[in-house]
Amino acid sequence: MAKLRKFKEAIIEKLIFLSGIASIVFVALIFIFLLREGISVLRSTSLGAFLGGKFWYPISDPPKLGILPLILGSLLVTLGAIAMAVPLGIAAAFYIAEVAPSRLRNILKSFVEILSAIPSVVLGFLGITILVPFLKRFLDLPTGLTAFAGSIMLAFMAMPTIISISEDAINAVPREYKEGAIALGATHWQTLHRVIIHGALPGIIAAAMLGIGRVFGETMAVMMVTGNAAVIPNSLFEPVRTLTATIAAEMGEAAKGSPHYNALFAIGIVLFVISFLINLTADLFLNRSRRR
């Protein structure tokens, strides 16, 4: 009997090990594929000229393959989104977890879930028909298709992630900590900012990072509202083009094996690396918050 159980356990262990390994293998394969297709871009341009070049004219002759405007476009849109979504999301999480009466809390939580379930195309669609004309008129811009519009869209997309993960982190702070502080005469607000923020901080940072990761790789909604001009932006209120939108828009027309085609894969590598770094940071913080 004991032997049979041991045998079973060994098999289950191996299966779990294999599924764990499988995900690593898939990631590695994807990366190798990207690398193989993308690395050849270095035959038509140097690494410095690729990452730092100011001009993206992939179909001129010879093509100019500088992705700096695209990197800056992505960064600008993402930073704008962070500036809106992180403070709002964290404040909302605190309100939901600590302040709202329980009926309102449940209503708010279902709204957050609904928000996260809206497909990004639909958000983009609302963006084009409502947000973009509104921005153009209200801010008196030549066009409403701007980095700012993209940031707003992305902020909407990042909020549910930030809210729900921060809320989990806040709720994970042991009740005993809160009551300990309250029993020592702390006010509700003192308890919030001394005990709860302190305890939930790693989780909140992880929430912000995951929210950022979620929007950095987002394609559809941004492509629809940012105007897609591959020039280095001077402000939030100009059209920009992001890394993701570039791949999505141009992949169909790039001839296989051409420098343009390789450059798009190389952009994929850049995206992959940046997303990986963002998620890695988030993971570090999540682990720290779990260890407590």
Binding site: P101, L184, G185, T187, H188
Partner: protein, 277 residues
């Protein structure tokens, strides 16, 4: 705190209420006076029309089987229940004659009525910081006064000798019994008048338990103490008076000696000799 506001209005002031139900009539001036206290969680009633007095410089032990409402009672005395979402309370609790739900603010009350929990949870900081936490929250930052306070509080909690050389090291490195005495010291740093203990020794070994009891006996000289305990022997050892709760009712309150030798109610006797609970 919308619900706290609502509760406060329910708590009607009944200073003139009859005193005779409270066990001891011969103290005209109790520290805490509880009258007709009823507590519901949602539809469930967990305390039923409870009236009793708690005298200055006594240890009132509260015993009773699980779920008899002992913790709920204790938490109503320093308004920790304010944060329960669906609690309903009625009746009145007076501290030195003033209604704690109407005449006092909750934070000020909790400094006067300290609470020690079953599970000692020090903050993840140094021993010193744990003790100065409450005073610093209240805006007290005078360093030498705080140092003195740390020493006094630790001595009163019978912990000073064990930790005086490592005040700056993490409180989490202390043993369970030391952590519990640290939590007592932390409460004492606020100079409370009343200290509520909720099964403070349930996780401690006999030696640590003895130390905690020793400090309680010492604290009794200058404080009023309410001790909820599952350990009837502990109630017998330290209690000046003992109250027996059963299913939300106060069955009996009397001098500890009387309760343990000749209780008036047979249910008290059954509990003490271990027939249920």
């Amino acid at each position: 705190m919308g619900h706290a506001e609502k509760k406060r209005c329910d708590m009607t002031d009944r200073r003139e209420a009859n005193n005779s139900s409270a066990g001891q009539v011969d103290h005209p001036d109790p520290k805490i006076k509880v009258r007709e206290l009823t507590i519901h969680y949602g539809k469930v009633r967990v305390l039923n029309n409870l009236s009793l007095d708690i005298q200055k410089n006594e240890i009132l032990s509260v015993i009773g089987p699980a779920n008899s409402g002992k913790t709920s009672f204790l938490r109503s005395l320093n308004r920790l229940n304010d944060f329960e979402p669906n609690i309903r309370m009625s009746g009145s609790i007076l501290l030195d004659g003033r209604n704690i739900y109407k005449d006092l603010d909750a934070e000020g009350l909790r400094k006067r009525v300290g609470m020690i929990f079953a599970l000692p949870i020090p903050l993840p900081r140094s021993i010193h910081d744990n003790i100065t936490y409450g005073p610093r929250l209240a805006g007290d930052h005078d360093k030498s006064a705080l140092d003195q306070l740390v020493e006094d509080s630790l001595k009163a909690a019978y912990l000073w000798d064990e930790v005086k050389d490592r005040l700056r090291s993490s409180a989490l490195k202390l043993s369970g019994g030391q952590q519990q005495r640290l939590c007592i010291a932390r409460t004492l740093a606020l100079k409370p008048e009343v200290i509520l203990f909720d099964e403070p020794c349930s996780g401690l070994d006999p030696i640590s338990t003895a130390k905690v009891e020793e400090s309680m006996m010492e604290l009794k000289k200058n404080h009023t103490i309410v001790l909820v305990t599952n350990n009837t022997k502990q109630a017998a050892r330290v209690g000046t008076r003992t109250a027996f709760f059963l299913m939300g009712d106060l069955v009996e309150i009397d001098s500890t000696e009387k309760i343990f030798t000749a209780p008036a109610d047979s249910r008290t006797n059954d509990y003490i000799i271990g027939r249920f609970g």
